[in-house]
């Protein structure tokens, strides 16, 4: 087989596609009725939805998994990257607060970060790109 044919098998994920998918899902969740979680529930905050898309845009990389977006009872958006036991989940608040849970490569961490803090986003992006890193590991050769 010619080298050019092998190159045709290389798939580079479209980062903008991952962000577009997050934006579409956020928009869908934003249109949920106020009682989506039962009587007296909270409508999804458009600011939280916009912040969730900003978060995905800020931490997504070509090798990253797609983010799952879901609504929370208090009207925020929960952004989640899960690969088996590896996961990063972030509840995004309208004021830019991020409540974060990270379980990747031996790290278990839970705490608060800020959307507008570039160092925080850099740290988070590092761990988001580590979710499912086993996809890129080459199996050891057997004897």
């Amino acid at each position: 087989m010619a080298d050019a044919d092998l190159c045709g098998d290389i798939v580079i994920p479209d980062t903008t596609g991952l962000i577009r998918a997050a934006r579409d899902r956020a928009s869908e969740l934003c249109s949920l009725p106020a009682d989506w979680d039962g009587p007296g529930g909270s409508a999804i905050s458009p600011v939280s939805a916009a912040n969730a898309v900003r978060l995905v845009a800020g931490v997504t990389c070509p090798e990253c998994l797609p983010a799952s977006l879901s609504p929370t009872s208090v009207g925020n958006i929960l952004v989640d990257w899960t690969w088996g036991d590896d996961h990063v989940e972030v509840e995004v608040f309208p004021d830019g607060r991020l409540e974060v849970l990270v379980r990747v490569a031996g790290l278990d961490w839970e705490g608060q970060l800020r959307l507008e803090d570039h160092d925080h986003l850099g740290w988070l992006g590092h761990h988001v790109s580590g979710v499912g890193i086993e996809r890129f590991q080459i199996p050891a050769a057997t004897a």
Partner: protein
């Protein structure tokens, strides 16, 4: 009324609150599905399998067919192994009602419950 280790605790969750495990492709309930009630404050509610069956109802009947809900289940013994307690709390219109008692303030605790949960029944809608 004591709850046996062999019993099953069911929890209704909103189908919109779901996430996908990208390794297996499986859809899972999000951690936000497992909060205590706030208005009024009370431990997370659920239903006991033994009482549902004793009242001649099917498990499928626990999920309204409006397309917005799904049902997940936990083994009572598994919940107890992780430090929770299941307490029967029958109500006038729901004799199988029960509470899952235990701190769920930490995100990691709610995530643990999401990982332990197994789907029982779903009624899928578009969101």
């Amino acid at each position: 009324m004591s709850v046996a280790d062999e019993d099953v605790f069911y929890r209704r969750v909103r189908w919109a609150k779901r996430t996908t495990d990208q390794r297996s492709g499986q859809i899972r309930p999000s951690s936000d599905s497992f909060r205590d009630s706030t208005d009024p404050p009370s431990p997370m509610s659920g239903l006991l399998r033994s009482v549902v069956l004793a009242s001649d109802r099917s498990i499928d009947s626990l999920v309204p067919g409006d397309g917005g809900d799904a049902l997940v289940e936990f083994g009572v013994s598994a919940l107890r192994r992780h430090g929770f307690e299941v307490v029967a709390s029958p109500e006038e219109d729901e004799p199988a009602h029960a509470h899952l008692v235990g701190d769920k303030e930490k995100r990691s605790t709610r995530r643990l419950l999401a990982d332990l949960a197994r789907w029982t029944a779903t009624t899928v809608d578009e969101t």
